[in-house]
């Protein structure tokens, strides 16, 4: 699965091409459209956010008055509010639970795929791809139907198993069970990527190593702990890091689940908080300050991932 790219990238002789030494403006011309659209679509918004987060941006400014520079006042105002910290704590907890759960289940799937025969493995792969391929909005919609309080399959199943209390149970009305449903959805959506990546990593472990372990008398568990897991650690680390970064920014799933009448202020995560502050309450300076915080956090977390990609390419 990974061969093609690995092969392409690990052949340094073809990359710094022969005509490259000539001094020419051509590469800059080639980069122009990409750089242009990045500056317009992302660069300007970042710049606007930095400036706005340092300004007073109230109603008067909405109506054309020139904004006044207020230094870090917006940051102080937002970050001393208890409401923000409740959201931050909730987001971090939600992110860690989801990321570790996803990686755990994903590794389980990968080991399972390694243990079964070819046919069963293909069946597992296809069902993982189905889950992965379903558009996010469609996935959340299906899960809302599965968890529907009246005729949803989940409640029906729980009643069949003997939990009669779940007849007509509304999962999305309480924050805790709301986040349980959100976790189920996000883990379901994210596991395929982890499982297939880790499985690809497992297939790269040389057979000789495993055979040597077997000859030395290692049993299944010992092989897993002392051979397989250490050898796929780079993949595991990257995949866990990506999950943490992605789960910290969960917004849409929460927003869509809130449509079923969940208590909004108790279920907001960071993205939802920014959305409400900015679009809802028109507090653009405050929203900009929180956005800058989220961006800085993402860059800090992305550092190891980007470094590992750069090492491969540079």
């Amino acid at each position: 699965m990974t061969d093609t790219l690995v092969r392409q990238t690990s052949r340094p002789t073809t990359r710094p091409a022969a005509p490259a030494r000539r001094r020419t403006a051509l590469p800059y011309v080639l980069l122009l459209p990409a750089v242009g659209v990045l500056l317009l679509g992302l660069g300007y918004p970042v710049y606007w956010q930095v400036v706005t987060s340092l300004q007073e941006y109230g109603l008067a400014q909405q109506f054309g008055q020139p904004p006044t520079f207020v230094g870090l006042d917006n940051y102080a105002r937002i970050f001393t509010a208890e409401s923000l910290w409740a959201v931050v704590v909730r987001s971090v907890l939600f992110c860690l639970v989801n990321a570790f759960l996803t990686v755990g289940v994903g590794v389980g799937f990968a080991l399972l795929m390694r243990a079964v025969g070819r046919v069963v493995r293909v069946v597992i792969q296809v069902s993982l791809l189905l889950a992965w391929a379903t558009p996010m909005v469609a996935s959340v919609t299906v899960w809302r139907w599965l968890f529907d309080w009246r005729t949803g399959v989940v409640n029906w199943l729980l009643v069949q198993v003997g939990f009669d209390g779940y007849a007509g149970h509304n999962w999305l009305a309480q924050p805790l069970s709301f986040f349980f449903v959100a976790t189920v959805i996000i883990v379901w959506m994210s596991v395929p990527f982890v499982a297939l990546s880790v499985f690809a990593g497992l297939t790269q472990v040389p057979d000789e190593v495993l055979e040597a372990a077997r000859i030395d008398g290692a049993n299944g568990r010992q092989t897993l702990r002392h051979i397989l897991l250490p050898m796929i650690r780079p993949v595991l680390a990257i995949v866990l890091l990506l999950q943490i970064i992605w789960d910290l920014r969960v917004f849409a799933q929460i927003r869509l689940l809130q449509d079923s009448g969940a208590p909004v202020s108790d279920t907001n995560l960071l993205g939802n908080f920014i959305f409400e502050l900015g679009i809802g309450r028109q507090d653009f300076a405050g929203a900009a300050a929180v956005s800058i915080f989220v961006l800085l956090l993402t860059i800090a977390l992305s550092w190891p991932y980007v470094r590992s990609l750069m090492r491969e390419q540079a």
């Binding site: 990974t2 093609t4 790219l5 690995v6 990238t9 690990s10 073809t14 091409a17 020419t24 590469p27 080639l30 459209p33 990409a34 659209v37 679509g41 992302l42 918004p45 956010q49 399972l112 243990a115 069963v120 597992i124 296809v126 069902s127 993982l128 791809l129 189905l130 889950a131 391929a133 379903t134 558009p135 996010m136 469609a138 299906v142 899960w143 809302r144 005729t151 029906w156 990546s197 790269q204 780079p234 993949v235 990257i238 995949v239 920014r249 917004f251 009448g261 900015g278 679009i279 956005s291 989220v294 993402t298 992305s302 980007v306 590992s308 990609l309 750069m310 090492r311 491969e312 390419q313």
Partner: protein, 286 residues
Amino acid sequence: MSAPTAARVRRRARRILVSLVGLVAAAVWAFPVYWMVLSALTPNARLRSATPSFWPTHPTWHNITSVVSGPSFGPALRMSLAVTGVTVVAVLVFAFLAALAISRYRFAGRRSFVLAVLFIQMLPAEGLFIAQYKMLSSTGALNSVIGISVLYTASVVPFTVWMLRGFVAGVPVELEEAAMVDGLSRFQAFLRITLPLLAPGLVASGVYAFLQAWNEFTVALVALPSESAQTLPLWLRSFLAASVNRGVNWAEVMAASALLAVPVIVFFLFVQNRMTSGLVSGAVKG
């Protein structure tokens, strides 16, 4: 029974058990997708009954046709097609040129560009969408195809540059030069030799851009606030929201979900190899 045979029986039992666990896990993971398609093909009255049926007993196209002929589906489909089309074309052209620059030339600022691209692809839409909303609203580009396409292109270009860079690097320059020795111009050599070899990469990048633009919800939520400018994901959300108060018609909602999801699933199965390998190739190799 001799000892080796007993061991073989035990191993065999274990293998069957593991296979069973695998099949159950696969069934659990595929179930929501199956349930979406099944519900889309089931009359709503049947879905409202107390015991769900897990097989298609009375399949019907009625839900699908009723959703497709509804007043809001056509405009949303056209909007989605327009935004996705513009994004895919822009992404392919821009990313291809940039990939050419960074994999065929050494120049001052190359490393910083690659570094910037890698960081930018990690930036969350949630950390930018307020500013993007203000930018579009102050230029009157809210609810417009071009406004949201610029945002989509900017967010998809970084990863596609990274993906195409590998493909471009995989085509040896010597091949192009050999064609030029044989009398082709540089442009002809590029057109006849390099471009065909890059076709798989361009297709994969195009499908990736398609998936991103087609599925996107978050940026669309702020950039397309008007009901008449909705893309399909926004349309699906309002479709469900519209019926929440008067008892959801889940059959039609699932038909709507399936209409959004099925083309995507087909495309996805086609492109996923490239995507996994692009994201973790460094780690797998290390």
